[in-house]
Subunit: 258 residues, 2 copies
Amino acid sequence: MASRTPLRGARNASEPAPRTELSRRRILDAAQALIEREGDRALTFRRLGAELGVDPTAAYRHFRNKDDLLLALGDRLLGEAIDAAVAETPGNSGWRERMRLAAHSIRNTLVRHPNLAQLISVRITQGEHEALGIEATLATLAQTGLPTREIVAIQRAFADTVLAWSSFSATFDALPAEAKARDTAAWVTTYRTLPAADFPHIHAASPYLDEFDDAFDIALDLMFDGIEARIAAHEAPKAREASDSSNASTPARSQETE
Amino acid sequence: MASRTPLRGARNASEPAPRTELSRRRILDAAQALIEREGDRALTFRRLGAELGVDPTAAYRHFRNKDDLLLALGDRLLGEAIDAAVAETPGNSGWRERMRLAAHSIRNTLVRHPNLAQLISVRITQGEHEALGIEATLATLAQTGLPTREIVAIQRAFADTVLAWSSFSATFDALPAEAKARDTAAWVTTYRTLPAADFPHIHAASPYLDEFDDAFDIALDLMFDGIEARIAAHEAPKAREASDSSNASTPARSQETE
DNA sequence: TCAGGGTGTCAACAGCGTTGACAACGCTGC
DNA sequence: GCAGCGTTGTCAACGCTGTTGACACCCTGA
């Protein structure tokens, strides 16, 4: 509707002839607006062309194919997520709180763009934003005093877990409302009524089954507790050589020094 | 090709008239075979019809639409994954090893069916297989001696984390080989060459960056360490009331008794 | 025997990603 | 100034997709 339809030789002399109407930037803006407004399913070349007032195939001059376009979109979104995480995290908090906030910030951003989330989460963009995010995480983890190699391992596990969970949450959140409600209610309806004889543990657990509607925080807390256990195990030999005799339940793993 | 093309009234009297050629069962078998053989992209109604020697739209008599068919396929696959996990886990091992094996078993099954994985992982099937899996996990966790409510929380976090990671791994594994290789190499090429002045922590970490190609085990170990820390914290008050004075680094959370 | 419901067939629709030929335009070297 | 060239937008078309409605067949139950 906003296009100057035929325009053949009928150029209006007052306009300075906008030769390059399109650009990767403009196309990405339009694509993002389209997704934001009508959902990820609406992102087609034909819809994109209409949004830009341009022929649907014009975008092929700037992106090799749809995957190329999606990847560029993902790059931009991942940058936004990491920037938000870095910006929202207060500088004076401990590593645990900082990482918790960063994890939630990234997940929130990805949940806002469900279909893109799974495409992005799995790719390594090699962009500047990503490097900044890794640098910030490593810096935060350096507070723990753990050896560098172990910190790198933890960073990888943490980052991938957050991305996996973000994509997971985004997919669930994008389910049709009906399916989502049915799945959530299943904990109450289905599992609470299973025969106690065949499922004794589920039966014993039934009073608590529907208490935990978002396990993300629990999973994060478990990982953080694991990190703290490693810190304790790492600091213990420094404080005193051998104090306790019971070593059966020390949570330290045996693979970190080789 | 395999269809008895026109057949009008020309029925062969020796055949007992296979009235009901199709069934949900047969269609699902064919769909699974198709995916197994040619990948998830090949699952279209037209291909499915050819596979069954039947008109493409015949499947619509048994499934409302493609999503309905995919969901049924997912239900079956999730059952397969949980069954495999239960079967592969030796009965005489401790909770940590049992849960590690179960996690890997489920992930392996889902990685074998990448496109279905993300559809399945997020849905609660409410089927028998799922209940058996939950029951088995709760039974395993009961070994830890933790209070039931905490065990339920851990089960939820563990199950969802495994599903999220499985879908994550499946999506990555399904990437075109070229993209996968490029992403994996990024740790060496991109991050190792970042300026040390701007990225001091990445620079310090660079010797270890490419050592961890699969962070799933690290993430699992972190969670398991967290569980062990909670076990230790739960057992400590029983053994001795107050022995140590340094309580600054105890990994116990404060939310489990209320 | 005959109505009815379930099942497979067929033609068609709208929409998708993608391609190739073509036309308009700006830039560069003479 | 202008010819040539590369870039960009246009247009028509291809082959594919999921899905629908009318139709024909056949088994079952009354």
